[in-house]
Structures are given as structure tokens and as C-alpha cells.
Symmetry: C2
Subunit: 335 residues, 2 copies
């Protein structure tokens, strides 16, 4: 019988739990609301209960468990550090030491998008690519890079923050403190905001119809629909954002020349209009060498990338990089 591993993808809205074998075959999965307002202890109890339930259902015992955390973690000590989308009491929570006795196996933590990159590397398109970049296009833009088959984390686990490349030096203010980050130009809210502006200016009649004039209903999904239905200005807004994204991809291409760039997250659901614009921009922007051998693809794992990455993390026993780990080199964040 093949070894079984567990994982949890901890999100601001939902907790997704997975049991899988070492080839990535899913034995069982379950998703429940995070209810993060109840505080870390209750959420961790819920995670442990979920794993326990899946183990009983599948009559299996995981060898190890990986957790995809939405923020920065101290991998060596198994602590959550800076989690922008969860309440502040998640700072310095010893998730590893609380959960390991409850689930009866070693527990490893990693940033969620780096975990998703690992998932894509081990079980997705990355299986045939040694060097790849993953852009998670959602409320923010997260990222991850792997070089020669190894996820690159850096001393703080923060390498691969691809959404915080500066694309417009004098561009919009970003939550990170910088200006003109890719995230300010091509995240879901950034694109939606432009759609809403167009709608209020009477320049997006199809979008107006679609959401009945209700700005709160505008997401990139509605923008894609409105563009397809004939709103030329909305289409332009998507293309403009995709060009910025293409610059972010092109910059990673000149630095690393990866064989693969995966675009995941809700914004990637816009589909071909986004992907074709990104591919074209990369061809135009990377003038030094041909980029035909850089595949720019949607995620092969979709919503499961983080959870399957957690399985890969558990399989690797958290040992991803010789020289990394929070606090091993350099200073700790905020300490």
C-alpha cells in the first residue's frame, strides 16, 4: 500500500483538507469555512478534526502533513508570521507544535503560493520543467519560482513574490508600501476597479446590463463576459492589465529563462484574451532571445494546486532548500 500524506490549504474564507498518495492521487478531500474570527485555536481544532475525519473515512494514516499558509511563515519553528488576510492574533502561532500531536504526524508549513508552485512542480505542468514561475492572480498577486527542480525560497521564504515587481515606477500605491507593483495593475480588484469606472462613465453598457449597475457585483468574471459580449472598453482594460502582467512575466523570463510560466488564480479564468496578450507581450518585450520555448499555461491543478503542494511539502518532509528557513540567515520579519 502506498504511503499517504495529508495537507491543508488554509484560506481566509475556506479550509481545504486533502489526503493523497505520493503520486498525487487524491484519496479524499473536504472543504469547510475558515471562520477566522473565532481565532487560531478553534481554526486549528477544525483543521485537525477535518484530517481525522478524512483518515477515518479512507481508513488511512498520513505519514506527514503540509499546510499552505496565506502569508509568511517561520518554517524552522513552524510558526505563522505575517498573514495579511487573517486577524492579527495569527502572528507567531505555533501551528506545527499545536497540530502535530493532534494529527499524529510531522507537520510542515509554507506560504500558500510557494506551496502551489511546489504542487505545480511535482504534480502539474512542472513535472517536465525544471525551471518555472507561478503567478497566482487573485485579490493580490502571489508567486513562486523553482530553479532546476527546486523551489526557491530564500532566507525568509519570501523569494518569488512576483506580484511585487515594480512595473510602473510612478504607478499606484501598493499595500506593500511600494508604488506601481504588478499587483496594483493586474490583480482582480485592480482590473475590476477599472471596469467599475468605465461602467459609471457609461462606457461599458454590457457590463452595466450584466450586473444591473451594481458595482459590488463586478469581478473579472463579469468583465470577461462583458468584453465577450461586445464592451470594447472593457476588453481594452483587460488587455492593458494583461500587458502589465506580460511585462512581469517577461522580466522573470530575462532573469531565469524558465521553460514554464503558470498563471493561476481567479483572474486567469479570463482565459485566452489574457493568455494571448501575455504571450504576445513576452515575445515583444524579451528582445534578447526567442521565447518560443517558454510555455505560458493555465494551472494544471486549478483550485487544488495549494492542497496538492501541501502533499508534496509533506512528502519532502519540509526539506526544500539547504540554506533556507526563517531566521537561519538574516533578520526576521518585524522582529
Amino acid at each position: 500500500m502506498p504511503a499517504v500524506y495529508a495537507s491543508v490549504d488554509l484560506g481566509g474564507t475556506n479550509i481545504k483538507c486533502l489526503l493523497a498518495t505520493e503520486d498525487g492521487s487524491v484519496l479524499g478531500s473536504q472543504s469547510v469555512p475558515t471562520q477566522s474570527h473565532e481565532g487560531p485555536r478553534k481554526v486549528l481544532d477544525r483543521m485537525a478534526a477535518l484530517v481525522g475525519e478524512l483518515c477515518r473515512q479512507t481508513q488511512s494514516r498520513p505519514q506527514a502533513m503540509g499546510i499552505a499558509v496565506p502569508g509568511l511563515v517561520d518554517r524552522n519553528r513552524g510558526l505563522t508570521k505575517f498573514l495579511p488576510n487573517l486577524p492579527t492574533q495569527w502572528r507567531d502561532v505555533p501551528v506545527r507544535d499545536i497540530l502535530a500531536p493532534k494529527v499524529g504526524c510531522p507537520v510542515y508549513l509554507l506560504n500558500d503560493v510557494r506551496t502551489a508552485t511546489l504542487g505545480e512542480l511535482c504534480f502539474g505542468h512542472g513535472r517536465t520543467a525544471g525551471t518555472m514561475a507561478f503567478f497566482a492572480l487573485g485579490t493580490g498577486i502571489g508567486g513562486g519560482v523553482a530553479v532546476d527542480g527546486r523551489l526557491r525560497l530564500g532566507p525568509l521564504g519570501a523569494a518569488g513574490e512576483l506580484g511585487h515587481q515594480t512595473i510602473l515606477p510612478d504607478g499606484p500605491r501598493c499595500g506593500c508600501g511600494n508604488q506601481g507593483c504588478l499587483e496594483t495593475l493586474a490583480s482582480g480588484p485592480a482590473i475590476a476597479a477599472e471596469g467599475i469606472r468605465l461602467m459609471h462613465s457609461g462606457l461599458a453598457p454590457k457590463l452595466y446590463e450584466l450586473v444591473e449597475g451594481d458595482a459590488s457585483r463586478v469581478t473579472t468574471k463579469e468583465l470577461a463576459q462583458a468584453a465577450a459580449a461586445g464592451d470594447a472598453n472593457v476588453k481594452d482594460a483587460i488587455v492593458r492589465a494583461a500587458r502589465y502582467l506580460g511585462i512581469g512575466v517577461a522580466n522573470v523570463v530575462v532573469v531565469l529563462h524558465p521553460e514554464l510560466v503558470v498563471l493561476g488564480g481567479g483572474v486567469a479564468q479570463i482565459g485566452e484574451l489574457l493568455f494571448e496578450t501575455v504571450r504576445q507581450t513576452v515575445r515583444q518585450r524579451v528582445g534578447m532571445f526567442p521565447t518560443d520555448n517558454v510555455a505560458i499555461l493555465p494551472s494544471a491543478l486549478g483550485d487544488n494546486a495549494g492542497a496538492l503542494g501541501g502533499i508534496a511539502l509533506a512528502m519532502k518532509g519540509g526539506l526544500l532548500e539547504e540554506d533556507s528557513g526563517f531566521g537561519v540567515r538574516g533578520s526576521e520579519i518585524g522582529d
Copy 2:
């Protein structure tokens, strides 16, 4: 007696030849004009003669030889491919096969700035840093990156072209075909051009004095002197270029979080005004994590970085990366 290796740094102006032991101790070095107009064969004869002479002088026999080539090479076949600063007849010259019998040892080729990165990694500041980036700031801006102690080359040997990151999406046209590349904003000629403009506008009196109004004498060296002597506008021009450079460095930092960034080449001679501006810009631009542990330093090897990198290349027998080599994956440039 320790093993001896040879290297040649092939430049548009000069050929520099080096003999060194495996710890990087230089036994002998010599530099002669390239005279590239005489064609590849004569230049290669000159290179072989130079190595022969150094061998006689030092009574040593190199185990292998590395050549730093100013452009793109086919590493697997030992050919020069696209050499922007040398005449076109350098395309597809079988440098390895011509030189190996003449010098009596295996010969390996690599792009010059990637070779300099290897030099810095093996014999310079990189000895204590696994992950680093090298910016060669000269007539153009070349670059190289190493991840976890391994130079990253990519399928065409073109990874690390740090000067061709897009910094200003609508910026000046670049020789590579793109717009707003770092090279168009912070290379020697880009900074000098702004200095000349200021001088012609009567806004750089110290610079005018220094070069006696002769625009052809303006390089970044004179600009640095004029700035130090009190030309505030010239100082501003340097700071503005250094901020663009800082964005290029910051973008590499968010992608890879290297421990080390080395700034080499003539423009780096501007000194503290440049380095401090770059460091400050990186702190401002990388908002996601502290960058105190990213050392931004001048080259430890100076003009010898390429030649010492050639020694490292020879020592490694050209085997730098499992999955790379021109034509092994993907298409060849221009073919």
C-alpha cells in the same frame, strides 16, 4: 603542484589572457588589443600565442581553458553565435575546435557576463553567498544569476540578461527591440547622453569645464567628477539612473531574494552616490520583506572578473548545469 588553468576574456577592444591555479591565484596575465577587424582566425591565433607565451613564462601546462565571449554562444558545440560588438563574421565560428589543438587542452566558451558572475561566485564575494546576481554596467547592461551556488543559464545560455528587464513600459527604444529596458536608462551611454544634454543646455558648468565643452569626452567618470564638484543637475541625472538601476535590482530581489548583488563595470566606478541610491531604492521598492540581508557591493574582482570566471569555467570542465546548452532544449537563436 596545484593544477593550472587558462582563460581568455575576449572583448571588443582587448583580449585578456590569464593563467591561474584552482584557488584563483594568478600565475600570469597579459592583455593585447583585439583588432577584431582582422577577422576571427587572426584573433584566435593571437589568443593561442598569448596563452603559449604565458605558459612558457610560467613553465606551466593548463588542464583546461575557459573563454569569456561578449555575446551568445553555443556551449555544446563551442561556437560563437551572436556577438553584438564584434564584426558579423564571428557568427558560428568553431572557437573550441580551432583553439583546443593549438593550446593542447579542452576549451570551453561562455557569455562574458555569465562568466564574470561565475568568477564572482567562485573567487569573489559569492564565495559565501549561494544565490547572487551580477550586473555589468557598461556600454550595455549585462548580467548573470546564480541560485544555490549554481550559475543559471537556461536552454540558450541567455538567462540573467538583467539589463533587458522592462523598467519603463513606454520608455526609450532598446537595441534588443524592446522599449524601456534597464539598459536604455542606466547604461554608460544613457547616463552620459543626459550629461551632454545638460552641458549643452548650460546646466552643467563644472562638466563643461572638465571636458572643455567637448561632448566626446563625456563618460560616467566625468559626470561623477562634475557631480562631486558641484553640478547639482549632473548629480540628479546620476541619481535618476541609479534609481532605475535600483528598480532592476529590486525586481531581481523579489524574484530570487539573493544574499548578494554585485554591481560591476565602468558605471559602477561612479561609487557611493550610485551604490547608496541603489540600496535606498531597493529598501523602498521591496515592501514585502526586509532586505538588510541583501548585500549590494562593487565587484571584488574588478576587471579580472571575466578572466577569473574563465578559470572557474575551465575548472568545472564547462559543466555548469545539467539541463542547459544551446540547442539541447528549444530552438537556436536566429536559426
